[in-house]
C-alpha cells in the first residue's frame, strides 16, 4: 500500500486526442499512407518466375521452406540473412534514436501507425475530442449506440484486413483470398487472421498509449541512446514561462509566450504535458509542435515555442548563447560504423552465396563392405542442393583416394554406371553413392577424402569432406 493512501493499480485516464493540422501531422499522414500501403499491397505484387515456382513477388512459403523475394530465393539454412536484417534494424534504430530521438516511436512503429488510423476512424464517426468526451458521458441512446457500433465495426474491419494481409505474406494471396471468402481455407489461416484481428483491434483500439507506456520495452532503454545532442520534442521553458492567459492586445512584457491554451496537451496521443519536460510516455510524434505553432500564429508570437531541439541547444539558449547541433559525434560514428560493417558482411555473404550446396554423410552400418573380389566399399548419402531455378546436372568425383570407383546406387534403371546426377530446380537431390577401392589400395582404418560436385555447364562446384574406412590390418 503506497504511503499516500493511493491505489496499487493506476487507473487509466482515457485519452481523447484532439485533431491537429500542421507540418508534422502531414508528415505523419504521409508516412502512415506509405507504410500501410506497403503492408497491405505488397502481397499482391506479382513476379513471373516461370512454371512450377510461385508468382508472388514476396512469399515466405513455410510449407515449401523457401523465402521468395523477387529473384532471390532464401533456403532455411540461409535464415542468417534474416538475423542480419534484424541486427541492421536494431543498430539503425540506435543510430536514428541517437540523432533524432524517438522518431521510430512517433512515426513508423506499427502501434503508432495503426493507432493513428483507428483514431482517424474514431474522429470521423464520433467527432473530435469534445464531442467524443460528451458522447462517452451521455447515457446510452439509439444515436450513441449507432455511433459506437459503427466505430467498432469499422475497427474490426480494418483489424481483419490487417490480419488477412499478414497471412498473405505466407500463402499465395489471390487464391487464398478466394478460399477465405468461400470458407475453404485451412484452420491455420483462419486462426492467424483471427489472432491478428484481435491484437490489432485490442492494441490499436483499446490499449493504445498503454502499449507504449507499460508493454513496450523500447521506451525503457531507448534513453541509453539519447544524449544532449539528440533532437527531441522540447518545450522552450526560458521563452514560455511564466505562462498564463493572455488577452488580445495586452502587453507581452514580464511574461512568457505560453498562453496556457493546453492545445499541446489535448492533441497528445499519450495524454502528457510536454511542458513538464522530457518524459517516458512521450513518443516524439511532434503533434504538440503543430498545435503550439497554431496558437503562436494566433497570438502573433514567433513559432517554435515547442520544437524539435537538442538539450544542449536549449541549455545554451537559457544562458543566452547558441551552439550548433552536432550530429557527428562518437556515439553516432560508432553506430554508423557498426551498421556499415554488418551491412558489408551481410552483403558480401549475399553476393558470394553459391547456388550449389553439397553435404555428405557416410553410412556407418555397415562401416565398410568387403566384396567377393576383396575390394573394399564404403557407402555415402550425398545431398546436392540446387538453389537455381533450372534443373542442373552435376558430376560427382572423389579426391584423396587413388583408383576409387564412384557409383550411384539409387538412380532408377541405369544404376551403378553414370555418375552424372540430375537435380531438379530449387530442390535437393539425395543420392546413395558407393565408393569402391581395389583390395590392394584400400586404406587401413580411416582416410580423409573429399567429394566434389561440379556443374560442367557453369563451372560451379561445391566440396564436402568425409572419410573412407578400410579394414584394420
Amino acid at each position: 500500500m503506497p504511503m499516500d493512501g493511493g491505489d496499487f493499480y493506476a487507473t487509466r485516464v482515457k485519452v481523447y486526442p484532439r485533431a491537429v493540422s500542421g507540418r508534422w501531422r502531414s508528415v505523419k499522414w504521409a508516412v502512415l499512407s506509405l507504410l500501410l500501403g506497403i503492408y497491405y499491397l505488397v502481397p499482391w505484387l506479382r513476379w513471373d518466375r516461370g512454371p512450377g515456382a510461385p508468382s508472388q513477388a514476396i512469399l515466405l512459403d513455410l510449407d515449401g521452406r523457401r523465402g521468395w523475394i523477387f529473384d532471390v530465393v532464401i533456403w532455411p539454412q540461409e535464415v542468417y540473412f534474416v538475423t542480419g536484417i534484424l541486427i541492421l534494424g536494431a543498430i539503425g534504430l540506435f543510430l536514428a534514436t541517437s540523432l533524432f530521438g524517438r522518431v521510430w516511436c512517433g512515426f513508423a512503429c506499427p502501434q503508432t501507425v495503426w493507432t493513428d488510423l483507428f483514431m482517424l476512424v474514431e474522429r470521423l464517426i464520433e467527432g473530435d475530442r469534445n464531442q467524443r468526451m460528451r458522447l462517452d458521458h451521455e447515457p446510452l441512446s439509439a444515436a450513441k449506440a449507432v455511433r459506437k457500433v459503427a466505430k467498432h465495426a469499422a475497427w474490426l474491419l480494418i483489424a481483419a484486413a490487417t490480419g488477412g494481409a499478414w497471412v498473405f505474406y505466407y500463402v499465395d494471396a489471390p487464391t487464398t483470398l478466394l478460399k477465405i471468402v468461400r470458407g475453404e481455407a485451412s484452420l491455420e489461416i483462419y486462426f492467424f487472421i483471427g489472432l491478428l484481428t484481435a491484437t490489432t483491434y485490442l492494441l490499436a483500439g483499446w490499449a493504445r498509449e498503454q502499449v507504449c507506456t507499460y508493454m513496450c520495452p523500447w521506451p525503457r532503454f531507448q534513453a541509453a541512446m539519447l544524449d544532449e545532442q539528440s533532437v527531441i520534442v522540447s518545450y522552450q521553458k526560458q521563452r514560455g514561462e511564466p505562462r498564463g492567459k493572455h488577452k488580445a492586445g495586452a502587453s507581452w512584457e514580464n511574461r512568457g509566450d505560453c498562453v496556457d491554451c493546453r492545445l499541446c496537451v489535448n492533441v497528445c496521443p499519450t495524454g502528457i504535458d510536454i511542458r513538464d519536460g522530457q518524459q517516458l510516455e512521450c513518443i516524439g510524434c511532434g503533434l504538440c509542435v503543430d498545435a503550439c505553432n497554431e496558437t503562436m500564429d494566433k497570438v502573433d508570437r514567433p513559432r517554435g515555442l515547442i520544437r524539435w531541439d537538442t538539450l544542449a541547444r536549449q541549455q545554451a539558449r537559457e544562458r543566452g548563447t547558441t551552439v550548433p547541433w552536432r550530429p557527428v559525434r562518437p556515439r553516432t560514428i560508432l553506430y554508423a560504423a557498426v551498421f556499415a560493417v554488418v551491412a558489408v558482411v551481410m552483403l558480401g555473404a549475399f553476393v558470394l552465396r553459391s547456388a550449389t550446396d553439397l553435404s555428405v554423410q557416410r553410412d556407418r552400418s555397415p562401416n565398410f563392405v568387403r566384396l567377393s573380389s576383396g575390394d573394399v566399399r564404403n557407402s555415402y548419402t550425398v545431398k546436392i542442393s540446387n538453389k537455381s531455378q533450372q534443373p542442373r546436372n552435376f558430376r560427382l568425383a572423389v579426391t584423396g583416394l587413388p583408383r576409387a570407383a564412384v557409383t550411384i546406387a539409387n538412380i532408377a534403371d541405369d544404376a551403378n554406371h553414370t555418375p552424372t546426377l540430375t537435380v531438379h530446380a530449387d530442390a535437393v537431390g539425395t543420392f546413395r553413392v558407393l565408393v569402391t577401392v581395389p583390395a590392394n589400395q584400400a586404406p587401413t582404418g580411416s582416410q580423409p577424402i573429399e567429394f566434389v560436385a561440379a556443374d560442367p555447364d557453369n563451372q560451379q562446384s561445391a566440396t564436402h569432406g568425409s572419410v573412407f574406412v578400410g579394414p584394420p590390418r
Binding site: 493512501g5 556407418r364 552400418s365 555397415p366 562401416n367 546413395r432
Partner: protein, 286 residues
C-alpha cells in the same frame, strides 16, 4: 466470518473485517481483469468437462458430449495416410519390378517404403544397414547365395529359405561328419582343400579327391557354387559362418542350413516389391 467491515480512517478504504490482536488488514481486491480471466477459465473448464473425456469413473471415465478419443483420432489419421499412400501402393502392386525401377516416382516411393519395411521386419537378423552377421548374410556386398537380381531377391523374400512354404528355397547340405559320410580325418583334408580354393590352406590330393566326389555336385568343380541351389562360392573371401579352419571344419562336419521365413505369408505384395527394390540398392544388386 468477517466480523465487521469498516472504513480505514487514513486511506479511506475498507478493511477485510478480520482483526488480529488489534491489527486490521486493508481489503485489496484482485484487479478486475484478473478476476474475469479466472472466471473465464472456470467456464472453460466446465464446458471442457462436458464436451471432452474428463473425470475418472469406477469403470472407466466420462466420455464427453463430443465422444473424442485420441485412439480414434490416430485411427482416422492412419486411414487418411493409407488413403494418400494407396494411389502409389496400387500402382506398385500392378507394376512389374522392372517397371517400378524405370519410373523415378515409383522407384523413390518404393525405396522409402522398402526402407521402412526393412527396419520393421528384416533388420533383426540382417542389421540396420543390411550388414548381417555370422549366419545372417550381408545384403550390402555382392556375394549372393540365391541370386542378386531384383527378381531373385523378390522371390527369396516372398517364399523364404528352408521353411514350410511350398515354393521356399529348399536344399540341404549333408552332415558329412555326424552322419558318417566322411571320417574326421577326411573332413580335415577337405577343409584344407576348401581353404586352398581362396588361397589360404594347403591344397592336398586327398582333399581334392573327396571334394570331387562329395562337393562338386553343389559347389561346382571350381568351387564357385551355384545360386540355383544356394550353394556358396568357396573361392572368395566372404564366409557366412566364418572363414577360419575350425569354422569350415565345423561347417563340413555338422552342415549349415540357414533358414528364412516366407514373408509372402505376412506382408502384402506391394511391400514385398518395395523390399526387394530397397535390398537391391543396398549395394550388391545385380
Amino acid at each position: 466470518m468477517p466480523t465487521k467491515i469498516e472504513k480505514d480512517a487514513v486511506s479511506g478504504r475498507d478493511t477485510t473485517g478480520h482483526e488480529w490482536d488489534g491489527v486490521k488488514e486493508l481489503n485489496t481486491p484482485l484487479p478486475t481483469w484478473w478476476v474475469y480471466t479466472f472466471w473465464a477459465t472456470v467456464v472453460f473448464a466446465v464446458v471442457y468437462c462436458a464436451l471432452y473425456p474428463a473425470w475418472p469413473w469406477i469403470n472407466g471415465h466420462t466420455r464427453g458430449y463430443l465422444g473424442y478419443s485420441s485412439r480414434a483420432e490416430l485411427t482416422r489419421e492412419l486411414e487418411v495416410q493409407t488413403k494418400e499412400r494407396s494411389a502409389f501402393v496400387d500402382r506398385i502392386r500392378s507394376a512389374s519390378l522392372e517397371q517400378i525401377r524405370k519410373d523415378p516416382e515409383l522407384f523413390n516411393f518404393a525405396l522409402a517404403g522398402g526402407r521402412s519395411a526393412f527396419q520393421t521386419n528384416c533388420m533383426q537378423c540382417h542389421g540396420a544397414g543390411g550388414a548381417g552377421s555370422k549366419g545372417f548374410p550381408n545384403l550390402a556386398d555382392d556375394d549372393w547365395l540365391w541370386g542378386g537380381s531384383v527378381g531373385q531377391i523378390y522371390q527369396t523374400i516372398q517364399h523364404g529359405i528352408r521353411n514350410t512354404d511350398e515354393k521356399s528355397r529348399q536344399t540341404l547340405m549333408p552332415r558329412f561328419g555326424v552322419d558318417g559320410l566322411l571320417t574326421p580325418a577326411q573332413v580335415g583334408a577337405v577343409t584344407d582343400y576348401v581353404l586352398s580354393l581362396s588361397g589360404h590352406g594347403k591344397a592336398n590330393a586327398e582333399g581334392a579327391k573327396i571334394f570331387a566326389e562329395q562337393c562338386v555336385s553343389c559347389h561346382q568343380a571350381d568351387g564357385k557354387g551355384n545360386q540355383e541351389m544356394g550353394s556358396p562360392n568357396l573361392t572368395d573371401g566372404i564366409w557366412l559362418y566364418g572363414g577360419d579352419r575350425d569354422s569350415i571344419y565345423h561347417t563340413i562336419f555338422f552342415a549349415r542350413n540357414g533358414s528364412m521365413p516366407p514373408w509372402g505369408q505376412r506382408l502384402d505384395d506391394a511391400t514385398l516389391k518395395m523390399l526387394a527394390i530397397y535390398v537391391h540398392t543396398l549395394g550388391g544388386g545385380r
